[in-house]
């Protein structure tokens, strides 16, 4: 039997894992920002190397933290939450590169997000408990 404080503890831990998950997904989405910044520079120029190096570093940090996060979450939950990267792409595009947000973009992105979430939860029950 679990006591009230144990339950609170578990809730707090789960919340922390979700915060980490979304921090790492935000970090992953910044990889696109570095790619786009490198794309604006001459190949192998100093600024290109800095942005490209930033991209590789980000991907390494992401790979490491992702491995840790999926130890504490079902894989399906982690993959379903990954759909948020599409939203970050629109946000960074708007804030950093002044890209326009149109109804068509939002509709397309919403369909992709629904598809990714549905894909993540479409596995069998055994898979759904992976990583728990």
């Amino acid at each position: 039997m679990t006591t009230g404080s144990e339950k609170e503890n578990k809730k707090g831990k789960t919340l922390l894992v979700y915060i980490f998950l979304h921090l790492v997904l935000m970090l992953y989405s910044l990889g696109g920002v570095f790619s786009k910044l490198a794309a604006g520079e001459a190949f192998l120029s100093l600024r290109f190397c800095l942005f490209y190096g930033g991209l590789i570093l980000l991907l390494m940090v992401y790979a490491f933290v992702w491995q840790q996060v999926i130890k504490h979450l079902p894989l399906t939950t982690a993959f379903a939450n990954k759909a948020v990267v599409v939203v970050w792409g629109i946000v960074w595009g708007f804030l950093i590169f002044r890209e326009h947000i149109t109804a068509g973009k939002v509709c397309g992105a919403a369909l992709v997000i629904c598809g990714v979430v549905l894909y993540a939860v479409s596995g069998d029950k055994e898979k759904a408990s992976d990583g728990q």
């Binding site: 991209l55 960074w92 595009g93 068509g104 509709c107 629904c114 598809g115 894909y119």
Partner: protein, 117 residues
């Protein structure tokens, strides 16, 4: 979507496909028994997979020369289609109705984004 954007979107889709191929190589090698940790990493499949991974990062930089940042993650969602195709054909994984519906939604989303975005 003009011709320049279409070409660059194609580059990102190709990069996403290559990335899925590298995942297959890693998975194939992970299914094998290895005598040591060194052998787990220093083998042709894993080295090739990481080489392909670096190539895909360069392809993404090239692609972003012609497409907006917001289109990137949308196109990268096509990886679910490639991974499913490899899963079914190579690893004999089963496909269910929900997965097919999910892939259709992803395809529809990419199409809507490309045509109306």
């Amino acid at each position: 979507m003009d011709n320049k954007m279409l070409l660059h979107a194609g580059i990102l889709l190709a990069g996403t496909f290559i990335s899925a191929v590298s995942q297959v190589l890693l998975k194939k090698e992970a299914m094998k028994e290895h005598k040591s940790v060194l052998e787990e990493y220093l083998n042709i499949r894993v080295i090739l997979a990481y080489g392909l991974f670096v190539a895909t990062t360069l392809l993404s930089v090239l692609a972003y020369r012609g497409i907006p940042l917001s289109l990137g993650p949308v196109l990268e969602a096509s990886s679910y289609i490639y991974v499913t195709a490899f899963g079914v054909t190579i690893f004999k994984e089963k496909l269910n109705a929900k997965k097919i519906a999910a892939l259709l939604l992803i395809l529809a989303g990419i199409t809507v984004y490309a045509l109306l975005g």
